[in-house]
């Protein structure tokens, strides 16, 4: 590529109006410095800071002399950076997980004879019990957070008078702020005790406790996202129904909820995502037994979730064991990303539907 072509490209990319070689040179210098520091960081060199200083100098000069161009370039860099972080996490997780997956093969997701998780001697890393534990707690959590959350969202956006809404809405948002470790602490000290005493559970920590606690924790997520979806149903649609002489509840059931259905599903999906990824409550409440409950549906039994597996074993893990934990991370990451994409897709569909493009 000739220099003039390069100029042309840079100019188009960054909207540099006055053809100015110095802008191009500056941009190139900045980019080089950044690249160098990234490489240095990746290989773990202690010289990482040098190119960063160079970059900062370039940027400072740029901001002084070519503010618009520099700002645009910086914002572009920030975007690239955000993408890079995701890419880095994804790639690193997968690369680290590969040895374990190669070691176990498909057994990692299908192997069900005891022991399913053995880190010494003849190693076995089957994620089946963890996936099952995660599945069970998530289903329990959603049985709580799904209906209650949607009902709460309906209350806030459709039923509550203004004055009540002003209180209830922030209160439920605040519920989202209670850190999971606090729930975990309460679960570990109070609920575990309560359940052992009153239900004569043979072991401390059971899936049902984690399910209930995680359900409570994902409730606010479901409420606020569903509330957004429900209140984005245009007022004109609701008025249209009411003006035909239907009751509010009929309007909610027949107009509002169907119109907001995608958004509400997206909310539930996001809630599922929160539940799947919830770590600390499971870690401190559960008894970390890497085996399937017997019978499978025994929610009062003890098993492990993917998150609590990582949190409880990262410290002792090395080589294949560590890779297996990464594999658990990959399963988490992939499922949660899939949920996020699904909820985004569903939400977009709602937008389109409301605009009549169904």
């Amino acid at each position: 590529m000739s220099t003039t072509e390069l100029h042309q490209q840079v100019r188009e990319r960054f909207g540099v109006e006055a053809a100015d070689d110095r802008v191009v040179a500056l941009g190139a210098a900045g980019a080089l410095c950044l690249l160098a520091s990234a490489v240095a960081f990746l290989i773990g060199s202690s010289f990482t800071a040098l190119p960063i200083v160079g970059f900062l100098l370039t940027v400072t000069y740029g901001l002084y002399d070519y503010q618009a161009e520099t700002a645009k370039a910086l914002s572009f860099l920030a975007t690239i950076g955000t993408g890079t972080i995701l890419a880095l996490i994804t790639v690193y997780l997968i690369v680290e997980a590969l040895p374990a997956i190669r070691y176990m093969g498909a057994d990692m997701f299908t192997y069900t004879s005891e022991p399913m998780w053995r880190t010494r001697g003849e190693e076995v890393y089957s994620l089946v019990p963890m996936i099952w534990g995660t599945l069970v707690t998530t289903i329990l959590a959603m049985l709580i957070a799904g209906p209650l959350g949607v009902a709460g969202a309906l209350f806030i956006s459709e039923i509550a008078p203004d004055a009540v809404r002003e209180i209830v809405k922030p209160a439920i948002e605040t519920l989202a702020g209670i850190p999971s470790i606090v729930y975990g602490f309460i679960g570990f000290t109070i609920l575990n005790d309560y359940m052992m005493e009153n239900l004569e559970l043979p072991t401390s920590g059971s899936l049902v406790i984690v399910g209930v606690v995680v359900g409570l924790m994902s409730l606010p997520t479901v409420v606020s996202v569903a509330e957004d979806a429900i209140s984005s149903v245009p007022e004109s649609m609701k008025s249209g129904s009411l003006a035909l002489g239907t009751t509010d509840w009929q309007t909610i059931k027949s107009i509002t909820i169907p119109a907001a259905f995608s958004g509400v599903s997206a909310a539930v999906l996001l809630g599922v995502g929160r539940a799947v990824g919830e770590t600390m409550a499971a870690t401190v409440i559960l008894g970390h037994a890497q085996r399937l409950p017997d019978p499978l549906y025994d929610v009062f039994g003890n098993t492990e979730t993917l998150t609590s597996l990582i949190a409880s074993q990262y410290g002792v893990a090395s080589s294949t064991h560590m890779n297996a934990l990464f594999a658990a991370g990959v399963v988490l990451f992939v499922s949660v990303t899939a949920l996020s994409i699904a909820s985004q897709y569903v939400e977009n569909r709602m937008q389109h539907q409301l605009q009549g493009e169904s």
């Binding site: 960081f41 773990g44 202690s46 010289f47 200083v53 700002a71 910086l74 914002s75 572009f76 920030a78 975007t79 950076g81 955000t82 993408g83 972080i85 996490i89 690193y92 997780l93 209650l148 009902a151 806030i156 039923i159 509550a160 922030p170 209160a171 439920i172 948002e173 605040t174 519920l175 702020g177 209670i178 850190p179 999971s180 470790i181 606090v182 975990g184 309460i186 570990f188 000290t189 239900l199 004569e200 043979p202 072991t203 509010d248 509840w249 009929q250 929160r274 799947v276 990824g277 770590t279 929610v299 998150t307 949190a311 990262y314 990464f326 988490l332 990451f333 990303t337 996020s340 994409i341």
Partner: protein, 517 residues
């Protein structure tokens, strides 16, 4: 249904009808609340209310309510009262009762006849099908009262006759749990109370669309009330448990000097009152670091995506990526930080690694909220500025960003609230001593050296505590002796996090009001 026939105000006797129904609703809400207090062991099966033991009282109420509901339904059906009941109950309600029928049928067969899982599922399904079929085609006044009334009568009878009493229990062969009456009875009572209240609410409005609305609103209202109650209970509980520890040794000194050792001291030998100051400082630094890292980057990315980039595949990919990052579990970030960042940051758990990991977690939120608020800046501002001949960057800097700031600030504050309470990543990349004596001194540790990287800050590269980790440490290092310490920590953590939330929400309300005035 003609206008005249449905004009309920014409039927004078309806007052009585209403009153009975409202009475039923009132009673069932009472049993609902008592059910909860019993579950929380504030009341016990032996608590006497009006001369009756609690379970007998439950039984009496359900007998009364069942009878009331059934007679109300029949009265409406035979036309003693004019109501607006629909011709059919409808499939929706039918299916609802079907699910209930499945549960009740299945459980009763298992408990009473000891049938195995397959058998009870079969029976349950049978009961469910019959229920759906029957209820759906019943006239609405019967369909919404009879099933609930009968169930209520049955449960009432079981309780009053003492077939189910405080010593009753059921030990399912396949589950690890044993269900005792003190748990089962309140749970069943709570569930049935809701049903009865729902049915009563429908009756009180004379069935029909108004009645159904009344029933639904009652349940939804109770649900909202329940959520608020849970929030308040949680907070009150933590406050009650944590306040004594928080105030231990606290003094209101001369003048306005207040000393609260729990938040100003570490854990040290020979000190009368130990505290969590190092954890508080750790959390503060973690938050500062994360914000410094994530906010400029996030806003920058949002500006590029919203203002500069053409909306297309690239922006869609980044958008998907940020959403995915936002929902990625914290433990995954933690694992990444542990295996990737820690070896690169001086190879030991460190504040810096924690800052990066939390920053990574905060980043997507900043991008998302900044994008939202940048998008919600009206294009009119951009047009107006462009029409004055002002270039794009100056428009962004002087008009768009200031207008978007409220949204960004609110989003960041809420995000900070969330990361301040994150435990898993800290546990993996930052934690060191569980009960440190001293707080890290970041500002005092900057040193300039002649070799790259020229600036050194040892404190940044050392492990630190943080509030959520402190709580985790209490759990791992022995809740038995130090539980009070844990509650104190939980209270402070809750205050910090909820403080961020309160500020975030308040600022959002403030900015919104300001915009609308």
């Amino acid at each position: 249904m003609s206008g005249e026939a449905t004009n309920r105000t014409a039927a004078p006797a309806l007052g009585a009808f209403d009153r009975v129904a409202l009475g039923i609703v009132g009673l069932s809400i009472m049993t609902f609340l008592l059910g909860w207090t019993t579950l929380f062991q504030r009341t016990s099966p032996d608590t006497a209310v009006a001369g009756l033991s609690l379970f007998t009282l439950f039984g009496a109420v359900f007998l009364l309510a069942g009878a009331g509901l059934i007679s109300a339904g029949l009265a409406s059906y035979v036309g003693i009262f004019e109501t607006t009941a629909d011709q059919y109950t409808g499939i929706g309600t039918g299916v609802g009762f079907g699910v209930l029928g499945f549960a009740v049928g299945g459980l009763v067969t298992t408990i009473a006849f000891g049938v195995g899982a397959t058998g009870s599922v079969a029976v349950g399904l049978g009961v469910a099908l019959v229920t759906v079929g029957v209820v759906a085609v019943l006239p609405e006044d019967l369909g919404t009262t009879l099933p609930v009334g009968l169930l209520s009568l049955a449960w009432g009878a079981l309780l009053v006759t003492g077939i189910v009493d405080a010593s009753w229990f059921w030990n399912p062969p396949s589950l690890e749990a044993t269900f005792y009456a003190p748990i089962v009875v309140p749970l069943a009572t709570i569930a049935l109370s809701l049903l009865v209240a729902w049915s009563g609410a429908i009756v009180s409005e004379g069935f029909g669309s108004q009645g159904r609305q009344n029933g639904a609103y009652l349940l939804i209202g109770l649900n909202a009330f329940g959520m608020i109650a849970v929030l308040l209970l949680l907070i009150l509980f933590v406050v009650r448990k944590g306040l004594p520890k928080l105030l231990e040794g606290a003094q209101l000194g001369p003048g306005l000097s207040i000393s609260v050792p729990f938040v100003t001291k570490g854990v040290m030998l020979g000190q009368q009152f130990n505290g969590i100051f190092p954890a508080i400082v750790g959390t503060v630094w973690l938050v500062i670091g994360a914000v410094v890292l994530a906010v400029p980057m996030g806003i920058g990315a949002a500006v590029f995506l919203t203002e500069y980039a053409e909306q297309g595949r690239f922006t869609a990919v980044i958008e998907t990526a940020t959403n995915a990052l936002w929902s990625t579990p914290s433990i995954v970030y933690g694992l990444f930080g542990y295996a990737f960042l820690v070896p690169r940051f001086g190879n030991s758990n460190s504040l810096l690694a924690g800052m990066f990991v939390l920053g990574f977690m905060l980043l997507p939120l900043v991008v998302i909220t900044s994008r939202e608020s940048l998008k919600s800046v009206p294009d009119e501002y951009r047009d107006a500025s462009a029409a004055l001949g002002v270039n794009q960057w100056q428009t962004i800097r002087s008009v768009v960003l200031p207008a978007a700031m409220p949204g960004v600030i609110t989003g960041v504050i809420l995000g900070v609230g969330r990361i301040a309470g994150e435990t898993a990543p800290i546990l993996l990349v930052t934690s060191g001593q569980p009960f440190p004596a001293r707080a890290p001194s970041i500002l005092g540790s900057f040193r300039f050296v002649a070799t790259p990287p020229f600036v050194q800050n040892e404190a940044l590269l050392q492990a630190s505590s943080a509030l959520p980790y402190q709580l985790y440490a209490v759990i791992t290092a022995g809740v038995g002796q130090e539980e009070a310490f844990g509650w104190g920590t939980a209270l402070v953590l809750l205050m910090v996090v909820l403080g961020f939330y309160a500020i975030g929400i308040a600022s959002r309300i403030y900015f919104r009001r300001k915009l609308h005035q």
